[in-house]
Subunit: 221 residues, 2 copies
Amino acid sequence: MQIAIPLFDRFTALDAIGPYQVLSGVPGAQVRFLGPEVGPVRADNRMLTLLAGERWEDLPEPDVLVVPGGVGTRMLLRDERLLDWVRGAHESSRYTTSVCTGALVLAAAGVLDDLEATTHWMERELLGELGARPTPRRVVEQGKVITAAGVSAGIDMALRLVELLTGPEVAQAIQLGIEYDPQPPFDSGSPEKASAETVELVRAVMGQLEVEAETDAATAG
Amino acid sequence: MQIAIPLFDRFTALDAIGPYQVLSGVPGAQVRFLGPEVGPVRADNRMLTLLAGERWEDLPEPDVLVVPGGVGTRMLLRDERLLDWVRGAHESSRYTTSVCTGALVLAAAGVLDDLEATTHWMERELLGELGARPTPRRVVEQGKVITAAGVSAGIDMALRLVELLTGPEVAQAIQLGIEYDPQPPFDSGSPEKASAETVELVRAVMGQLEVEAETDAATAG
């Protein structure tokens, strides 16, 4: 089973690595990180670099597609090269999935037209503008299309995906293998649960990151 | 604030990326991935490669040390070059931490002598043999030394660490930023909660991975 995780400049690392850690435990599964080119791909905060061993097009028919998010997705919404690859991969995939703002890429490719879908809570409105029906659920299944909410939601989505692919026994074993028995020290993991001050703080900080990314991209060409 | 995450051959990716994703959100923090040499470092399952921008010794006095785990830790327990660096970093660190079997490395360096500590549930016995007092808690704080249980526990540990470093407001904002409102589809994330069959399955698979890693290491050198 071939699992494609496309990388791109300014992806969010945990969006990709959470599902990778879960899915790589499926017997016979091979997770492949694909880049715009073979070589280094830098994460959103510039502190982490992954190596893409292949280009997006090198895996045209993956069994499973997992599109991560990150501020870099904004630059992908008009990247016909990536969107064409996504459309092609989706045609033959068993499952087409996204984490966080990876849903914006699926939507821009037309995969989410008129489907319920989720994304990072700050981007629900944009997801709707791109043709999906945004919902605030953490994992949204619509046939073979599965979207996960922000960043860490990819872990929950991937465990459900393993259940769909191979049954609950393997999914539960993987959960135990990564000791996923979450005990967050706070309960502020969604805008419905966090304080208004926390929501405002995150909006301010993440808005600033987007401005920086767009300025960088404009400067770079 | 300088945060060091040492990488090594056959590390477990989520052990490193979970805390990185949380800690990189702290204002002014710089997370630095350090390798045995500058260049690519491959994860335990050979499906992922990170780039280390610096060598371990290039950051001798980090403010925070986060040692990830993975089957590769077995080869580190007698690696005096790494252990010396860990001892030196621990001398001046504000916090010395580990995720999963990264605790075995801290123990081998003498950092956990007579301290309570946690690790991946399969390795509690070995952690005791290395001089620590193993406990089954998910996050164990002993002064400036904090250990986390297997793999995904690094996310919980890192949120607590952010609270200690900068207060609960920032920690809660980061939790909301990564939408960490976990909703695993099963409740088998610890050996106390999983079925006996699941525990046995994981023991068998992970035992096999360790044998493969040790065979590879023996062949390679």
